[in-house]
C-alpha cells in the first residue's frame, strides 16, 4: 500500500528537492541533466556473476557489486585502492597505515604481505569515502551525497523483497570449513587498531542472532554490526550497549539458561554492511532491506551448526554460541571520535567453526579520531533510519519528498564529523598523537576559517 505513494514520491522527488531547497536550483549542478527516475532491469542470472543493472536515463549503466570482491575490482579499475605489497608488521605498521590513510583522506588499503600471515589479505577503510559508497550502490562515483542517500531511501521504500536461500554447498562463504582446530589468531590477520586497545578488534563484524522464542525464521533473525574483541583462540568478546538487538536476544536465551547460537560474518557484501550498521529496529528485517537496496533477492545460506541464515557471499563466517550466564571483561577500545571506551563485563562468543572463501579477505576498519569508514556508514545508515522513522510517524513525509533534507538534518546533527577538517579539530586526543600534529591541525583550521571569513567580508 505504501509503495504506491512511494513510487509517486520517486517520480516527484526532483520537484520536491527543488521546491524544498531552492539553493539547489541556483547551484544548478546537482540536478541538471539527470533524471532521478531509475529503470530497473531484470537481474542477470546465469553461469557468470549475477548483477542487477540500474539504468540511469543518463548515458551510464552501473551495476551493484554483489560482494566485496566485485566492489574491490571496481575500485581497482578506478585506482581507488592502495595495495601494500611490502612486508609489514601487524603492529605498528598496519595500524599506522590505517591512521595515516584516515588522516590524509579516504584511501582504501589492501595488505598482501603481513608478517606471520602469509597468504592472508586484509582490507581496511573500504567505505571511507562517499565515492566508494556510491560505487557499492551501483551509482556513479561522483554522485553528490544527497542524491546517493536519496536513491537509497527510494530503493528502501519500494516493494519489500524476500531474500533467497541457496544451498550451503554452493555458497562461496563455505568453500572452506574448519571445525576441528579453531584458532582465530591464526585464521584472521588481526592487528591492534589503536595503540591503547585492550586487544585485537574486529570493528566491522556482522553478527546474526535469533530470538530463541520466535524460532529460526530469517525474518526474526537480526543482523547487526558490533565491535568484537578476540579474546582467545576460540573466544570473542562482543561489545553490547544493553539496548541493541543482540542484547535482547542474549536476555531471552538466558532466561531458560540456553546457549544462543550466533554467526559472525566478516567481509559481507558492502550494502549488507551498510544495513547491519543501520540498527533499523527490532521489527524490521535487515535481509529484506538489503534485498531492497540491491533490488534483487539477497543470497543467504544456512549455517552448518545452527539454523541461522548468513550471507552466502561473506568472506568469513564464524559459527558459535553465547554461553549463558558468562560475562568477561572486554575493552577498552578507541571509539569513533577518538575517546577510549570503558572496560565492561560483556557476553562472550565461543567459536566452534570457521568457514571462509578461498583466499579470503578480512575486511576490518580503522576507528578513531580521524575520518573513518564508520562516519560514512553511520551517516548513510542513520539517514535511512531517520527517513524510515519519519515516514512511519509522519505519512506526509512520504509525499513531500524531504529525503534529501533529511540528509542535511543528519549532517547537521553529526556536526563536525562531516567535515574532515573539522573532524580533526573536534576530536578528543586520548590516544597520544604528538601534540604538534594536533596543534598544526588546529592552526590550519583556524587559518582557513579566517581566510573564509575574510572572503565573505570582501564579497559582502
Amino acid at each position: 500500500m505504501n509503495h504506491t505513494v512511494n513510487d509517486r514520491c520517486v517520480d516527484f522527488s526532483v520537484l520536491a528537492i527543488v521546491f524544498s531547497n531552492p539553493a539547489s536550483v541556483l547551484a544548478g549542478r546537482e540536478l541538471c541533466g539527470r533524471s532521478r527516475k531509475l529503470e530497473v532491469k531484470l537481474p542477470k542470472r546465469g553461469t557468470g556473476v549475477m548483477t542487477t543493472e540500474l539504468a540511469y536515463s543518463g548515458p551510464e549503466v552501473r551495476t551493484v557489486p554483489r560482494d566485496l570482491r566485485e566492489l574491490l575490482e571496481q575500485l581497482r579499475a578506478k585506482s581507488r585502492v592502495l595495495n601494500i605489497e611490502r612486508a609489514v608488521l601487524p603492529e605498528p605498521d598496519v595500524a599506522s597505515f590505517c591512521r595515516a590513510a584516515s588522516e590524509l583522506g579516504d584511501t582504501t588499503i589492501l595488505f598482501d604481505n603481513i608478517t606471520g600471515y602469509k597468504g592472508k589479505r586484509l582490507l581496511v577503510n573500504l567505505l571511507a569515502s562517499w565515492a566508494n559508497c556510491a560505487l557499492m550502490s551501483g551509482l556513479p562515483s561522483d554522485l553528490p551525497i544527497r542524491e546517493l542517500v536519496d536513491e537509497l531511501c527510494s530503493r528502501a521504500d519500494r516493494q519489500p523483497r524476500e531474500p533467497v536461500l541457496i544451498d550451503v554447498g554452493n555458497a562461496p562463504s563455505y568453500e572452506c570449513l574448519d571445525t576441528s582446530d579453531v584458532d582465530l589468531y591464526r585464521s584472521l590477520p588481526l592487528f591492534r587498531v589503536n595503540e591503547h586497545d585492550g586487544g585485537f578488534y574486529l570493528h566491522k563484524a556482522c553478527v546474526v542472532s535469533e530470538d530463541l522464542v520466535a524460532g529460526a525464521r530469517h525474518d526474526r533473525m537480526k543482523f547487526g554490526m558490533y565491535s568484537l574483541q578476540v579474546q582467545g583462540r576460540d573466544r570473542l568478546g562482543v561489545h553490547l550497549s544493553g539496548t541493541d538487538n543482540l542484547s535482547l536476544h542474549v536476555r531471552i536465551a538466558e532466561k531458560p539458561h540456553r546457549r544462543l547460537p550466533v554467526a559472525v560474518c566478516l567481509g559481507v557484501p558492502p550494502l549488507a554492511a551498510l544495513v547491519a550498521s543501520a540498527a533499523i529496529g527490532y521489527e524490521a528485517t535487515e535481509y529484506n532491506l538489503i534485498s531492497a537496496l540491491y533490488q534483487h533477492p539477497f543470497e543467504l545460506t544456512r549455517c552448518v551448526m545452527s539454523k541461522l541464515s548468513v550471507p552466502a557471499y561473506a568472506e568469513y563466517v564464524l559459527e558459535g554460541y553465547i554461553e549463558p550466564g558468562l560475562r568477561c571483561l572486554a575493552g577498552p577500545f578507541t571509539c569513533n571520535g577518538g575517546g577510549l571506551s570503558e572496560i565492561k563485563r560483556q557476553p562472550q562468543i565461543v567459536v566452534t567453526g570457521i568457514a571462509h572463501r578461498r583466499d579470503p579477505i578480512l575486511d576490518n576498519t580503522y576507528v578513531g579520531k580521524f575520518w573513518a569508514e564508520h562516519d560514512c556508514l553511520i551517516g548513510i545508515a542513520g539517514t535511512l533510519r531517520l527517513h524510515k522513522q519519519a515516514k512511519d510517524s509522519l505519512p506526509e513525509i512520504a509525499r513531500s519528498g524531504t529525503r534529501a533534507e533529511g540528509v542535511h538534518l543528519r549532517l547537521g546533527l553529526c556536526g563536525g564529523r562531516w567535515d574532515e577538517k573539522r573532524s580533526v579539530a573536534g576530536m578528543s586526543f586520548q590516544d597520544g598523537l604528538p601534540a604538534e600534529n594536533c596543534l598544526s591541525a588546529y592552526k590550519q583550521e583556524i587559518g582557513e576559517a579566517q581566510r573564509r571569513q575574510a572572503q565573505c567580508r570582501s564579497q559582502s
Binding site: R86, A87, L89, P90, E91, P92, D93, S96, T115, G116, Y117, K118, G119, K120, D183, Y185, R186, S187, L190, R192, E195, H196, D197, G198, G199, F200, Q229, V230, Q231, G232, R233, R235, G237, L240, S241, G242, S247, V250, R251, E254, K255, P256, H257, P324, G325, R327, C328, L329, A330, P332, L340, E342, I343, K344, R345, Q346, P347, Q430, D431, G432
Partner: protein
C-alpha cells in the same frame, strides 16, 4: 615506517623477550596467559591472551606501552575493580 631491517631487529628483540615475563598479564598480573603462535614463519610472533582480564598483546609489541597512556584506568586492573565494572547486559536470576 619500519624497513625490512627494522622489522628484523624488532623480531630479534621479541625473541629475547623471556617467556616467564609473558606468562604474567601486564594488566591484572594474573598468570592465566595463553599463547598462540603465528600461522607461518614460526617464531615471527606469538599472541598472548590473559584468561582473567582478556587483555591481549603480541610478542612484537611492548605491552606496557599499550597500557601506559590510560594509566590509572587500565594500567593495573585489580580484582576489586573488576567487580565494579559495568555490565550492560545484566545477568538474569536464572542465568547465574
Amino acid at each position: 615506517m619500519p624497513q625490512p631491517e627494522l622489522i628484523a631487529s624488532i623480531l630479534e628483540q621479541a625473541d629475547q623477550f623471556t617467556t616467564d615475563e609473558q606468562k604474567i598479564c601486564p594488566r591484572c598480573r594474573q598468570t592465566a596467559v595463553t599463547r598462540s603462535e603465528a600461522p607461518d614463519e614460526r617464531g615471527a610472533w606469538s599472541v598472548n591472551t590473559c584468561g582473567h582480564c582478556c587483555f591481549g598483546w603480541r610478542s612484537t609489541e611492548d605491552a606496557m606501552r599499550v597500557l601506559e597512556i590510560a594509566k590509572g584506568v587500565t594500567y593495573r586492573l585489580w580484582d576489586s575493580e573488576i567487580e565494579r565494572l559495568p555490565m550492560p547486559v545484566p545477568l538474569s536470576a536464572t542465568a547465574v
